[in-house]
Symmetry: C2
Subunit: 527 residues, 2 copies
């Protein structure tokens, strides 16, 4: 497979003429061939028109057709072979092992959604049979299914060039729901985007789906991304990135004549709570695991542990000591883009100069141009309480430990936090009673609560929530990882007294799709 | 039970001192005693503080406790007796039969949600058991449940003083989900609001729930309604009313530092499509049923059939003739408020003067001051196509028939419509093939599709959708009627590796609540 630098609009390869996106070698900062032509507004219009045309046919594909399509995409991504990993390594600066793992995750994610589609429970079929004899009024026959919301815009993420980009979680769940997808590639990895985009494009063709089911656009500025969210044919958007970027899209979407949901996954510091018993028994072990999670992938994860709250004392000193030792041994790592590296360096510098913040440790000094040096800071509860800047996410391997005088202070600081993707409790059995009152506070502000673990390493499964109250995401009622992510792109439609021949298969009397259905409120399984 | 004019803040009765809301006799326009004191910002703050304090305890009540609470509210509403119906008749101008029916509906709705809570499926419990031996990485134990979003603001609706107001569908579904509720009473029926509010307040006490579970406020202007949506402790809002009111709340909610969902049910003209076969066989019968639906409750329903599209010809002439005859016999009816009556009269007058719009019939002339005269207009496809004002909702018993030259024109006009709550197809067997291509177009823009019926008379059941794409509602992914309405007030939380003693009952290993659960993606029923 060749990287050509063209947009993929339906089945066509189109030379974008609206400026140029250039891939950058993350390690050296030098640009890589070929240049990618930015989409024009006419390209955007064409992609939206195709998506809109494709919508009715695509959303009525059978579960099996749609599942096969997702599996074909997975197969095609694997078939690209090593060229995908190599290109992605250069563009992202991420090591081979990580990217091979991410490819496996991306492929498994597509297959998970194929299973979800075949299972059919996401349709949420409901039947309230007619009651013609009911007094004082007869009851009509009512049937409900969920249909897809319409064409979806997906924004590629800088930090997951595979798993949260062209054929990542947003795309997989939207396609599974029955939504055509238009991806705006992230400018940091356009070559990776094209390779994966072609895998999707070829799957569309192989499965004989309408060509507008998928398009891929590059944006040399912000015009195309914004234009996508504003286009009346787009009915939802998925985004993983910065708080500034996500909230900008939320505002655009809310200001449309017809507002649409934006599922933006944005910003989280993922508090880690250290309880006295666990700290006493395992301070050094927890510290080592913490630093491992902190420096993983140069800390470029939404679930990176950016905040540690612990009860002050000698056990916390032991934790800080062991964490500092581990961190100092952590090699500098190349960050995803020069911009991200620069933002990280500035944020760390700023934290160093905050009142009552001490530098506990720094990682190994950088040897390459865009490498980041890990950082660990310590502050007081008082300083954290009064300085909102210490609550802000630093994207990268930097974390702040807060010395809390008592366990009550710990809970008080938890209650001062914004919405989070994850929160981790480190507890031993002796801590269980002390931990219990933390759970309501954590449930109110986090999408996932962990015990004796860290938020990095997000399982793609059925019980996962990768979401949380604002500002961790735009919409705390949703998850962007796991099978429940499909719900973001569905809406219910009710059918009253339709003759069987006009009902969708999901709701026909004979239940030809063999769906589990809720009949008069009660679930009935077919197997 | 006495009507005292006081706010209900938790268990307290408080004299509001921020201006006065006066109930108006809908038939005469004269004001009724007592005056209701408007809430101050301090009252609002107190209600929000109580709701926020109540949240953790209320949301963790057992399914049985919460169901009993809903049933107690229902019982208490019935126990008010005839004073409720009489007060409501005076305040709303609606007849006794309608209000007795609406009371039954309100009570049944509370009981339906009690069943939904006891059933427990709304919790959406999921378990992905740990796989400690999995390679390359072990899988953690992951468990997911839905919790309630937080305190909810509910706005009473003018047109359903019982079923969509203080203890109506929004309140019932929010309480069922586990959300404390603060109601802003509609100024058109404050006495009805207080009576029902006291029924809820007493149920809170009888069930020994935290007092902040429910409060009721009157608003002498817009300060309290707006203040509720802006308050950081409020996490969602439910509204039924005008497009202007709903979109104003949507904008407020989107502009908050932490945006929240607003479920506003706003505006719909509920297209009725007349197909040639049905028209030929049953023009007169359909016309009579249509007028019956149109004038029901003075046309003051969100699902009122405000638009009829039919293929032009002698059969449509027969329909128009029969509908005109039926409409002319329709008595004038008192509208809910002088303001609503005035808006109706102005809108009808404006329609009369639109180019190419002819008045087909008017109902009986009004004899009372705030009575409305029904109206039926006819226009051409050409005029409808080019005049967006003809697409706007007229709240009341007014409808517009559009003569379409062909069935293709009919489909074309359907594709020009905004989002709708309902769409009705009138078809005989001979029309089925012609109707089929309409379904995708209707699914894209309506929440409920009916055959040979009309949208009025919204069943409160499991397969009902009373929702639809904007502007029919703020959020087309939701319904405000039926058991699915509970989903609006829930968000998922995932628990990773929690010891059993710290897990919520819904997710404990022994499944003490006896919930149906999804295990590794597959539903398992407990009975």
């Amino acid at each position: 497979m060749q990287i050509t630098g063209t947009l993929l609009i339906g089945q066509q390869s189109v030379n974008g003429s609206n400026g140029t996106v250039r891939a950058i070698n993350a390690s050296t900062g030098t640009s890589i061939e070929p240049p990618f032509g930015g989409a024009t507004l006419a390209d955007l219009d064409r992609a939206c028109a195709l998506a809109s045309e494709a919508f009715d046919a695509y959303r009525e594909t059978t579960p099996d057709q749609r599942a096969t399509f997702l599996e074909t995409i997975a197969q095609n991504i694997l078939a690209i072979g090593d060229i995908l990993i190599e290109r992605c390594m250069v563009e992202s600066g991420l090591p081979r092992g990580r990217l091979e793992g991410e490819r496996a995750r991306t492929v498994n994610q597509l297959r998970l959604f194929a299973d979800v589609v075949r299972n059919g429970d996401f349709i949420g079929a409901r039947v309230d049979p007619a009651q013609p004899e009911r007094k004082p009024m007869p009851r009509a026959d009512l049937r409900l299914r969920h249909i897809s919301v319409g064409p979806v815009a997906v924004f590629g993420a800088s930090n997951f060039p595979l798993a949260f980009s062209v054929a990542g979680g947003d795309t997989a769940s939207a396609l599974a729901a029955g939504c055509p997808v238009i991806v705006k590639a992230h400018s940091a990895h356009p070559g990776t985007a094209e390779l994966v985009g072609r895998a999707v494009q070829q799957a569309v063709k192989a499965c004989a789906l309408p060509e507008g089911t998928f398009s891929l656009l590059y944006d040399s500025g912000r015009e195309i991304g914004q234009g996508l969210v504003k286009d009346p044919r787009i009915k939802a958007a998925g985004f993983t990135g910065s708080r500034a970027g996500g909230t900008a899209l939320m505002k655009l979407a809310a200001a449309r004549p017809e507002p649409i949901p934006v599922y933006a996954e944005m910003s989280s510091i993922n508090p880690v709570l250290l309880f006295p018993g666990a700290l006493h028994n395992r301070a050094e072990d927890i510290a080592k695991a913490f630093v491992q999670s902190l420096v993983l992938g140069a800390g470029q994860f939404c679930t990176n542990p950016g905040l540690v709250l612990g009860v002050d004392g000698t056990d916390l000193d032991r934790f800080i000591g062991a964490a500092s030792t581990a961190l100092e041994a952590a090699p500098a790592q190349t960050m995803l883009t020069p911009g991200i590296h620069n933002a990280y360096a500035c944020a760390v510098k700023k934290t160093q100069t905050q009142a009552d913040v001490k530098t506990a440790a720094r990682g190994a000094i950088a040897t390459g141009e865009h490498q980041a040096q890990a950082a660990l800071f310590v502050t007081t509860a008082e300083a954290f309480r009064h300085n909102p800047e210490l609550h802000e996410e630093i994207f990268g391997a930097s974390s702040l430990i807060v010395r809390c005088p008592t366990i009550d202070t710990l809970l008080e600081l938890v209650e001062s936090l914004e919405g989070q993707l994850t929160a981790a409790l480190h507890i031993d059995e002796v801590d269980h009673d002390a931990a219990r009152p933390f759970l309501p506070a954590l449930e109110r502000r986090a999408g996932r609560i962990l015990v004796n673990g860290f938020g990095t390493g997000v399982e793609v499964s059925h019980a996962m929530v990768h979401g949380g109250p604002f500002p961790s995401t735009a919409d705390g009622r949703s998850t962007s990882v796991g099978s429940l992510a499909i719900d973001r792109f569905l809406r219910p439609v009710s059918y009253q007294d339709l003759p069987d021949s006009l009902l969708p298969d999901a709701l026909k009397h004979e239940n030809p799709l063999g769906l589990n259905r809720r009949i008069d409120g009660k679930l009935h399984l077919t197997d």
